[in-house]
Amino acid sequence: MRGKLVTRDSSHVNGNMEIAYEGGVRVVALDIEHVTAGYAGHEVLRGMTMQVQQGEFVVLIGPNGCGKSTLLKTASGLLRPSAGCVRLFGRDVSGLKPGERARLLGVVPQKVESPMAYTVAEIVMNGRTGASMPWQGLKDEDYVIMERAMIYTNVLSLADRYFTVLSGGEQQRVILAMVLAQEPQMIMLDESISHLDINHRYEVLRILRRMNREHGLTVVLVSHDLTLSSEIADRMILMHEGVVRASGLAHEVLCADILSRVYDCELLVQHDALTGTVNVSGVLDGTGPGGQVSRSVHVVAGGGTGIELYRRLGVYGFRVTTGVLNRMDSDAEAARALGIEAVLDLPFSAISTEAAAAASRLACQADVVVLAPVPFGSGNLVNLDILRSALQCGKEVWIADGVAERDYTEGKAAAAVAAELVVAGARLWSSAHELLLELRKSEK
């Protein structure tokens, strides 16, 4: 092997998979450098940079669609980055031969299925594919390695059973055995344990931790279970929108401030002084610990921009009214479905002054008036008058930021009115999550 940074003791045949560090220097196992990657037409990783040291146990977290799976595919050379460089143990991944790559990195995907009825041993055998040339068969060593991997994962007794009849936990251990049979230096798991029950989840984690502590196996675990991750990780990496948002010890990454912003919802973070673990939980009871919310909010929306607000405000116990909306508009449909009081006007037509007046009365009865990120044309410009009259009634008014960008009226009339309203005391919001925090704060 070029590089000679990692040498493997020949004694590993005897069950000792120790990895020696030359000169005691730790090696960068995975080096992602300014990587941009994705699928036809849209980038998922956007100039991402991160490193994993050899022997580290890293847990990668982040909301759905933040690019974790794409990162795994890029790191394993399955997906070619459009910019940047991916190195495994100092070597460019695109230059690695498939067999070499398999000895450096093993990947456990979310789900592995074969349509054919393989036995457990036959499944594990696949782990030795990369180690043998097409014209060679399996050698004695290969069987020794398979056997050892199956002992580590406690599946040797299942060897002759059919893979598909096993339980989820057993299947996951078999897949782990298959990947360990590659004898990789690093292993990446893509949410592979999320669907397991707590017993089997910890069983897999114990195996991983043991391989990590005793044999120096570098582990990168993608997980959605923040609390569990904090227990096991040497280091956590938080991904968001294709870049690393935070990296460090569990208590540094798992803080309510960062998490709430990344996951765009309210989260409670509690530190357990006894075990040192961090407990992250969502908020089920929308009213939170502060007691009942009785305040009402009038939402000015249209074209589907209000749905998210209706839902969230409802969840948090606000009484919601809305209008003016055109009938058959998706917001009107949503309001009807959610049982929200709404002022409606004719479909696909300009808002009448009568309707606007009715909505203004509704807005003056509410405590707060919120403008959704609705685009403006000449037809719904009148909606801004509702905000103006609410301000005059002394109500709290929130305007979704960036009116100018969605202003299609002649001469940017809506933007001008919005600016005037801000001067008159309206406030701006950009994230629904933060808006809700503000609304609940001002309530107390």
């Binding site: 054919m116 594919t129 060593e141 590659q182």
Partner: protein, 344 residues
């Protein structure tokens, strides 16, 4: 890495090598020569060894032997090809003709027969069938890869194959419907498949091509195992999945096209023999590839012996017999053993 110490370590168990399969394989391999010998005893001239002292008897045995060789070649090519297609496409309905090989070869043959090339130029029938089959694969693969940016997905391959096959069939039907009665008879007869021995050089060439395809397939056997877990997982396990898929499709098509060019479009073998072999011996391709080659060959040889004997002196097209006789027999096996082959 660990050479030099090899002698010290021996696996306590050879995982995945089960004794049940072992004894079954041994029994099967003992049976094969007996069945092949049996096929030599059957023919339209009667059941039993012909009189070898007479020149007629020697010629008869010689002819039966040639047909046996043809059957072995075509049968093993088709069934190994089916194994490969079922593994790569991860689909139990896949067979050698799924990517349009039959449609392409049929079209080539129909053109050669109907436009008189067969009568004029020797070897023009197998050559045109072979070339048009390979061209069809190239066309299907190219169509399926467009839009996916690189290697085609399994589904686009299957769909393109089905569409191209349908187009080819329509063109064949058009040509046949406008042809003379004699041309029509020739085309239909060819399409039903038969194992009349072709010229010796042609047989040798076919054996070389099929042998080549078989060697490639057998070498990739372990990689086919990994491929059934999906292209992604196969990639993670240290193989160039796209290359293996491409090489496998090419080898399988080469075998199928060669088989079609000398034996016509014999159906059923390539679909069912892989299934039955898998049901009997398990889905490990290291065993499945060679065993299905033997099984496919023997099956077709027996069907041919049956086809030329039972209705003697009329000879049935072997393609008719394969499904008619083999169908119920294999259904019986599959019913009892399917759980050893595919996941329910």
């Amino acid at each position: 890495m660990i050479r030099g110490r090899r002698k010290d370590v021996e696996p306590t168990v050879l995982l995945g090598v089960t004794s049940v399969a072992g004894s079954r394989v041994a029994l099967f391999l003992v049976l094969v020569p007996l069945l092949l010998a049996g096929s030599l005893l059957m023919g339209p001239s009667g059941i039993g060894l012909p009189d070898l002292d007479s020149p007629v008897g020697a010629a008869i045995l010689n002819l039966r032997f040639s047909r046996m060789v043809m059957g072995m070649l075509v049968g093993s090519a088709l069934s190994v090809s089916g194994v490969v297609f079922q593994a790569i496409l991860r689909n139990p309905l896949a067979e050698p003709y799924v990517l349009g090989v039959s449609g392409g070869a049929g079209l080539g043959a129909a053109v050669a027969i109907l436009f008189g090339a067969v009568a004029a130029v020797p070897l023009s029938l197998p050559v045109s069938a072979f070339i048009s089959a390979v061209l069809t694969l190239v066309l299907v693969y190219w169509m399926a890869s467009r839009g996916s940016g690189g290697a085609p997905s399994v589904y686009s391959l299957i769909l393109s194959g089905v569409i191209v096959s349908a187009i080819c069939s329509s063109v064949i039907m058009f040509l046949v419907s406008t042809a003379s009665a004699e041309g029509l008879h020739n085309v239909i007869w060819w399409m039903l498949g038969n194992l009349q021995p072709v010229a010796l050089e042609q047989r040798v060439l076919a054996a070389v091509l099929i042998g080549l395809g078989f060697m490639v397939t057998w070498m990739l056997a372990m990689r086919f195992n990994a491929l059934t877990l999906g292209r992604e997982m196969a990639h993670y396990q240290g193989m160039n999945a796209d290359l293996v898929i491409f090489a496998g499709l090419l080898a399988a098509t080469l075998m199928a096209a060669t088989a079609v060019s000398i034996g016509g479009m014999i159906g059923f073998v390539g679909l069912i023999v892989p299934h039955v072999t898998r049901a009997m011996f398990g889905p490990d391709h290291r065993l499945l590839v060679p065993l299905s080659a033997v099984a496919g060959g023997v099956f077709l040889v027996l069907c041919d012996a049956f086809a030329r004997t039972v209705f003697a002196p009329v000879e049935m097209p072997v393609g008719v017999i394969t499904a008619l006789v083999g169908g119920p027999f294999f259904l019986l096996i599959l019913q009892r053993k399917m759980k050893h082959a595919w996941v329910a």
